[in-house]
Amino acid sequence: MTLTRQEMAARVARDIAPGSYVNLGIGLPTLVGNHLPAGSGITLHTENGMLGMGPAAVGDEVDPELINAGKVPVTDLPGAAYFHQADSFAMMRGGHIDVCVLGAFQVSVHGDLANWSTGAPNAIPAVGGAMDLAVGARDTWVMMTLLAKDGTPKLVEECTLPLTGLGCVSRVYSDLAVIDVGPHGARLLETFGTMASQVEDLLGLALTTPAGLPQP
């Protein structure tokens, strides 16, 4: 079976090493937070200025001065730290965050990312921290459905939408497959409810497929 959104989130969470510092992008990647095992010592960074972010705030916990990058009220955990925007992005840009998980409109087989603009001519642009997050973390992973709603592949030979960063993504977690991307192209790691050849057909791409890859 292909993965649900929560199953995708759980699959990503499984690959995050205990003790990691992690930034989860707005949207789909936020779900990963629900699947981090207790006691894993994973610390969440939110680029609007804190480490040690806890779950979404409920009821009396809601404080308009404690929000995440998606402007959702959250909580802080023991051992949290607050800092200003320049310090927060220094932390990101300086390679101190182990893993950043982002959503995407398109990812290229070389790891180029397009996730901030649909390129629609009349759209109001907005980039936020997307470009900083894309290039800053030690590993930038993308979490997305492999196909857009209209069936077009989101993993592509070359991005056609405005870029967020060049060669910054190392891995794509999707509903159909986990795929490494980068200088040597795309390499299929795992498939869900489908065969390697079907993934290739859907994408219209030839993927490196290790011999040992389990097939459904």
Binding site: T46, L66, A86, R93, P125, V127, L163
Partner: protein, 234 residues
């Protein structure tokens, strides 16, 4: 004591902002928005403004009204488009406002560079994207980088939590965001706080913005409300 002035109203704190001024406005979403100071700017009348702010107004707030009234010539921000940014959206689509879209970390670092007296810096952020078009680039240590320049301002409007009489500031939680870097990058920094304490009332180890960066301070009950009672901000 020091030069920081403590006044009773947002209007007094703001003073005169000339037409054409560059104004920094703190805040990320609702956290750290100097709501009453921006309202004072709306009342004060300055036009032809350049605004530096992470967002471009929400709903019917004062920044949105400044934009709707055509008093903002240009805005530098990272995230203008929001569900309720209709005044900005309309002005932008009508070509009535210039937008310089800046990645959030570059925005913060460019503001910091201004306060720190630097002439610019090379950063990997934005390289190879439309937002770096026309900018100087070079490869440093194998990483392609873009030269970014400082952003200075005439006035910064900041919301902090507590001020002491020496002008030192602390913030609350993620409301700290752009306050510290903007306070240092403006020729004049105007701050609204929820609480004022005597000099020495803030532990010198915990000062976030030293008083040297703070020109005028107003304590506002609404700020107390925002900080003290939860959920009070729309």
């Amino acid at each position: 004591m020091t030069r920081t002035r403590f006044v009773d109203t947002a209007v007094e704190a703001l003073g005169v902002v000339p037409d054409g001024a560059t104004v920094m406005i703190g805040g990320f979403g609702p956290a750290g928005q100097p709501v009453e100071l921006v309202a004072a700017l709306l009342a004060q009348g300055a036009t032809d403004l350049v605004v530096v702010s992470n967002n471009a107004g929400n709903g019917e707030d004062a920044l949105a009204h400044l934009i709707a009234l055509g008093r903002v010539r240009r805005i530098m921000c990272s995230f203008p488009r929001q569900a309720d940014s209709w005044h900005f959206d309309a002005a932008y689509r009508a070509g009535r406002i210039e937008l310089e879209l800046v990645p959030q970390g570059n925005l913060a670092e460019r503001i910091r560079a201004a306060g720190a007296g630097l002439g610019g810096f090379f950063t990997p952020t934005g390289y190879g994207t439309p937002l770096a078009e026309g900018k100087e680039t070079r490869v440093i240590g194998g990483v392609p980088m873009v030269l970014e320049t400082p952003i200075h301002a005439d006035v910064a409007l900041i919301k902090a939590h507590r001020a002491d009489r020496a002008g030192n500031l602390t913030y609350r939680r993620t409301a700290r965001n752009f306050g510290p870097v903007m306070a240092a990058a403006a020729r004049r920094t105007v701050v609204q706080v929820a609480e004022v304490v005597p000099a020495g009332g803030i532990d010198p180890e915990t000062v976030v913005t030293p008083g040297i960066y703070v020109d005028s301070v107003v304590r506002l009950d609404s700020a107390t409300t925002i900080a003290g009672t939860k959920g009070a901000v729309s």
